[in-house]
Amino acid sequence: MPGQPQKQSNRMLWLGLAFLLLAILSNLLYFLKVPAALLPWVNLTLPVLALILLLLGLVRAFRQPQIYKGKIWGSIVTVLAVLLVAASTLFFVGARKLPHSGGAPQVGQRVPDFTLSDSTGQPTSLAQLFSASGDAQPPKAVLLVFYRGYW
């Protein structure tokens, strides 16, 4: 039709949507053997990239609606991206809000003793963890793992 140019698909928006999906999937990386130092950056960068692309796409869609599509669905996906960026930022901050633990025993220092119930209700001290069980040799070392629980 003359004077009515064929509308183009808005690639920025599609790319933004793809990054948004990658951002959501990137949370699965925590279950894979990925170097831990990389994870926060991947987790935060992907949603931000998605947001930037979506915003660029939206600007195109609203400024040149005769050329670019995506005013409606682009807006919806952008709102979702804003929410995802907010949620992952909050989660990121929350997951790292840990006590300083400056008084924890350091390498080379002696650990405090304790006596706690084992899973059968038996009081167990650190010294007892070093004692031999049955015919086995007493252990050379004990690994103490403090965890948050509620699994």
Binding site: Y30, K33, A36, L39, P40, A95, R96, L98, P99, S101, G102, G103, A104, P105, Q106, V107, G108, Q109, R110, V111, P112, D113, F114, L116, S117, D118, S119, T120, G121, T124, L126, L129, F130, P138, K140, A141, V142, L143, L144, V145, F146, Y147, R148, G149, Y150, W151
Partner: protein, 87 residues
């Protein structure tokens, strides 16, 4: 904080043979300065994640404090550390 019965269920379900200890009064957790206040369900005080490899004289030979609760050392990593040290 998991009660001994909860840990016993977990131990049986997963087939773990190591000892699970419960610290409902956060007694040892506080002695190790690992208390994470109100971080558990219903604002219960819990332990922050931390790992200590201790020798027979009670000396820490290796330790790990994560910066992110989602990131913990893997069993394989800790085994490698233990094997690399002289006991």
């Amino acid at each position: 904080m998991d009660a001994p019965e909860v840990s016993e269920n977990l131990r049986k379900k997963q087939g773990y043979t190591f000892t699970f200890l419960s610290d409902p009064q956060t007694d040892a957790i506080r002695r190790y300065d690992l208390l994470h206040k109100a971080a558990g369900p219903e604002e219960h005080d819990i332990s922050r994640p931390a790992e200590f490899l201790v020798d027979r004289s009670g000396i820490v030979r290796w330790e790990n404090f994560t910066e992110d609760i989602r990131v913990r050392p893997r069993a394989q990593q800790m085994l490698q550390v233990a094997q690399s040290l002289h006991w």
